[in-house]
Each structure stands twice: as C-alpha cells, then as structure tokens.
Point group: C4
Chain length 200, copies 4
C-alpha cells in the first residue's frame, strides 16, 4: 500500500476529531450574557484550544513523518490506526475534563490519553524503521530529544494531577509549546539529501 492513501485517511480522521470537539461544548441553557457564556463554555474553550493544538501538532508531525516514507506495510498501517484510536478518544476525555470543571480523575484520564497517543506515535516510528524507508527516517529524526522527553512530561502531569488537578495540565501545555516550534529536522534532512544529490 502506498503511504498517500494512509495519509489521506489519517487527514480525514484528524480533521473530524479537531472539528467535532466544538459540538461537545456546552452553551448556557437560557442565558444570553457574556458572563453566562463564559461560565458554561469558558473552561470548554480553554481545554478545546489545548486539544486543538495537540491534534494540530500530531497532524503536522504525522506529515513530516510520512514525507520520507513511500510504501507502508500491514504493521505500519495498524500502528497508525492504533495512534488514531488514542487521538479519537481526545474529544471524549476533554469533554469529561470540561464537564467536571477540571477535576482530579478527569485530569488524570486526559493525561493518560495524551501519554497513550505519544506511545502510539513512538510505535508508528518503530514500525516505519523496519520498512525500506526506515533508514531515511532514522537519519531524519536524529536523536529525537523532543519525542523522548514528551512521555516523561505526560507522566509528570499525571502525577501532578493527583496533587492539584489543573497543575496536571501544565506539563501538557509545556509539551505543546515545545512541539509548536515547528519540526525542521525532516525538512533539513530532505534538504541535505537534495544538496548531496546535486553535489554528486
């Protein structure tokens, strides 16, 4: 199977996840004022923003990942579906987080969800390493400090949520900010490869 079909399907799933979260936001029952709007939708808007950024980061990294991949096998395909499964749970866990006004257990479950997605992403990379495109990806990723650091920050967040629920979201926000700095590694690799090809 060619990787562009897998990318198109993943694009579709991510586009839906990122959009339907808005359907979950609750509006004031009979109120028409800013205060009531903020009271019923305020927390939802903030957690929606965080989840939106997360799905955006996964979409962006997902494409950088598959830019160096041509053909995918069954293992990559199911590793990718496994990743999409974790990401498809984000609207559910963020809705619980929102409806509980950021209580302890929902913050822990949200953290577990982000951790699961991070591990699934790591497994997609492992699965690609075993394909013919693996060496190119390995070289492009390099030491992958960001990828190795993120799971530990999620774990820290899960721990902190047991202390103070909203504190559990802080490491997740830090991870988001780290990843918002766009991932130039793959593009740099592609550029180096092109330069080397020109030099030959």
């Amino acid at each position: 199977m060619q990787s562009n079909r897998l990318e198109a399907f993943s694009d579709g799933v991510l586009a839906i996840i990122i959009t339907i979260m808005v359907l979950e936001l609750t509006l004031p029952d009979h109120g028409d004022t800013f205060q009531e709007f903020w009271h019923s939708a305020g927390t939802g808007l903030l957690t929606y923003l965080l989840s939106f950024v997360y799905i955006g980061i996964y979409w962006s990294n997902h494409h950088h990942l598959f830019q160096v991949v041509d053909e995918v096998d069954g293992t990559v395909l199911w590793a990718n579906l496994h990743l999409l499964f974790w990401l498809s749970l984000v609207p559910l866990t963020q809705r619980w987080l929102d409806e509980s006004s950021i209580a302890r257990d929902p913050a822990v479950v949200y953290g577990i969800n982000l951790l699961g997605a991070a591990i699934a992403y790591y497994l997609v990379e492992r699965a690609i390493f075993r394909t013919p495109s693996g060496n190119a990806l390995r070289e492009a990723l390099g030491r992958d400090l960001k990828g190795k650091l993120s799971p530990f920050l999620y774990l820290a967040g899960i721990g902190l949520a047991f202390v103070t629920p909203w504190l559990g979201l802080v490491p997740a926000i830090i991870v988001a900010l780290i990843w918002l700095i766009p991932d130039r590694r793959v593009e740099r690799y592609l550029k180096r490869a092109a330069d080397r090809a020109d030099a030959d």
Copy 2:
C-alpha cells in the same frame, strides 16, 4: 469512473464512521471519579474498540481490494454504497449495544449488522469480478478462506447471543483477530506480477 474517486469517497465515509462513534459514548452525569467514568463509559469503550477495529479492517481490506482495480462501473459503485450503508449503521447498533449494557436483542442486531456488511463486501468483490479488472482480483484473492469463513462466524455469533448476549460477541472478536493478521494476498499477487514482468 476511475476507482480513485470511489476510494476517496469511501475513505471519507469510513473516517467519519470511525470518529463519530466517540460522540455516542456517555459520560457520568455528575460524577468525576474513575469508578463513575468506567461505569458509564466502560462498556462503551470496549464496544467502541471492537467497532473501531472492524471499520479499520474494512478500510484496510477495501484498499487492498481496489489496488488491483482501475475502472469501476455503475454496479461496483452501488455495491460499494451498499457496503457503506451497512457500515454506517455500526455507530447506531453499537450505541444500542452499549446503552443496553450488552443485552440479547442488541447483540443479535449488532451481529446482523456485521453479517450484512460481510455480505455487502462479498457483493462488491462479485461486482468487480465482472469488470475488466476482475481476473486480476480473482487471482489475487485465491481461495479466500477468511472471506468465506467470516459470515458463518457471524451467524454463529447471532445464534450464541440468544443463549448468552456477551457470548454472541466472541465470534465477532475472533473474526477481527483473523483479519488483523494483515492481508498479504493482494500484495503478494502484485509482487508476483511485477516479478513476471521483469522476467519477460
């Protein structure tokens, strides 16, 4: 009509089906604890996982199927829409199954839904057999033991659901596990065809 338009549309429908099922999962009304979350969303998460794997399998097989097809006619187009119709009912029947905490009749209806989709998939294969790409597909599929076995397992599941509801899901889980072993037949056929072309 070229098959890639049909694939893109099917991709879209399957991506939506696989994602909106999460919208159906029920959260605790006023509870913020793990127990309440598991109580209200636990069964839903398990049946969601099963349905997710099923849609994933259909997506994966669908693409393997259309990899050897170039042009589709009206019969293939409507056979494919017929398949998408059955798959689009999965979020409904799985929601009933979930809300009933896996009762008898919902388990039977869920089984009928999976059986209907399996028959529809078989009809898509038949419809392709009659197109110019038919011989290539026939050769690629070979004896198709998995395809022929699945409907009987669904039938067994429908029967078992009358005995004990959750037992009716066991054959469906077995079918899922059988198909999770990625379908290498089509890829093997394409490889053989390429090798033969090289040998000439």
Copy 3:
C-alpha cells in the same frame, strides 16, 4: 480553479451528510427488545435508507457531471455550493419527517428539500454550459429526460403529501429508482469521443 478541488470538497461534504444522518436516529430510551428498537428507530431507518440513496445518487451524478469538466469559474463554484446547501438540509428535514412518524407538513418540507436540490443541480449544469467545457457536457447529457422529469415528480409528491403524508414519499422513491439505473450517458459520450479520436 481546477474542478478536482471542487470535487474533493463536495466529496467531503457528501460523505459527512450521508454519515451523520445516523447520529439523528433515536434509540429506545430504556428498551432492549426488537419491538422497541423497531418502534423507535424503524421509521428512521426507512427514511435514512431513502436519504442515503438520494445522497448516493447525487454523489454519483455529480462525478459523472464533472468528468467532462476541467476548469470551473466562480459561477460554477457557487452553483455547486448552492447545491451542497440544499443537500446539507436533508439530515434536518429527514429527522423531522422521522420524529413526526411521517406527518403531513414534514413530508411536504422533505419534498421541498428534494425539489430545491434538483433545481440547484439543474443550475450547476447551466453554469457549466457557459464554461469552455459546456459543449462537451451538453452533448453528453443529450435530452436529459430523467433530469427534466424529476422536478415534476417531486412537485407531485408535495401535492400528494397534502392528501396522505406517506403517499408524498412515493414519487421520491420512484425518482430514486429511476436514477439508481446508473447514468451511462456521460460514459457513453466519453467512449464515443475516444472512438472518434481513434478513427481520426
């Protein structure tokens, strides 16, 4: 703008319309038996089937239409969005039809919705006629008996709904059956054009 972007966007909208209608189907509140399922979801399943077939027909015809079109201008683009607007209302009007167990006014509104979509489709054809691809489409469509007949059948349905609500759906079902016979005109035209090119 090239027509393939317009087709991809329309594909997306139609794939969503065809899938979200299932979200609207109502399940029994606390019932786990076939009778309760059929009682609460029966009418919904039948009207869903009708709407599914309709969206399927529009998708199929839409692609046949744009197969002979290369470039689209602003008029075609907005005529197409106008068509998508009418089709996007189908989940709403079919939900009302379902919730009313096919009452008079909902049947009339559903008929108006189908009529509006048919007129919008006709306007898309007119808009394409004025582009450089217009002559090819004009020749491909020929006398277009089906296209000219459909609006009158919808009008008849709207009239009949005033007599007996479910009778108003009969012409809509007849139109669906007429169109289910796949549209070979465009494919025949493309074949003739290819044959002529070969003969030159």
Copy 4:
C-alpha cells in the same frame, strides 16, 4: 511540506464545519406543523445560511490563495491552523446566536468570531509573503481593498450589535455580499503570467 496536503486537510475541516452546523438546528419538540417548524428552526436556518455562505467564501478564497503557493513552511502551517481554529468556532457562536433568537451578547460574540477569522486570514497572507511564493501572491492580491475593508465592517457590526442586536449582523451580510462577487484577482494574475510567458 507541499501546499496540497495543507489544502486537503483544510478542505476536510471546512467540509465538516459547513455540514455539522445542521446538527445544531433545533426541531419542534412535539409539533408537526409549518408554524412550529419555522418557530423553532427559522432563526437557525437564516443564521445557518449566513454561516454557510461565510465558510463557502473562506473555502473559495483559501483555494485562490494557495493556487499561487507551492511550498509551505511551519509558520504558514500554524497560521493556517489558527485560521481553522476561528472558523471551527463558528458552529458554536452561531448556535448561541440562534438559541438566543439573536440577543445582544451572542451577536457581539458572533461578530468577534468573524473578526478573529478575518485577522487570522490576514496573518496567513503575511506568512505566505515571507515564503518563496510571496512575491507572486503579493502581485496577485494587488491593493486588496476587500480584505482591508472587511475587518472594519466587522468592527462596525460589533458596535451596532450593542444598539440593536440584529443590526449587528447587517455589516456581516454586506461583507458576505462583497465577497460573493468571486475573487478574479488571482485568476487574472495567473492569466497575465501565462500571457507574459507566451509573449517571451
């Protein structure tokens, strides 16, 4: 990253936004007459029409924009996600506007939403200016009177909403009508560039 992936993802998100708004429209609880339908869904249909036209305009302009862009960098990617974020809020703010039967604060929030999207769109243009395709876009856009005028009309709408809520929607309707006149600037630029290339 090539711009066509970004366009496909944006297409998906916009197709979902434009379609799910219909899910939000409220139907009469137990009424089957035109009056009750209009009473419960009337305002919703009108605001849905306005939002549909808006998303349609953004989709249309978005594609005109990216027609002259080949490669996008991380800044363009996140500027585009920022735009999609504002647009994804339209179903929420239009639902509040609808449920409040166009009250003051919801009309102000809807106006802020449109203003935010307009500013985000402007930032996408700025981000593209800094890429290698920037000069082509700069030349294609010219003075961009429509783009510069729109934010001020949204601001006027927000102000007017404080006087009379529905008056606040008038400037938004005017902006929609201005933009409905299809944007020929980019197409004209592409034509001029082609003509110049022919003349050389």
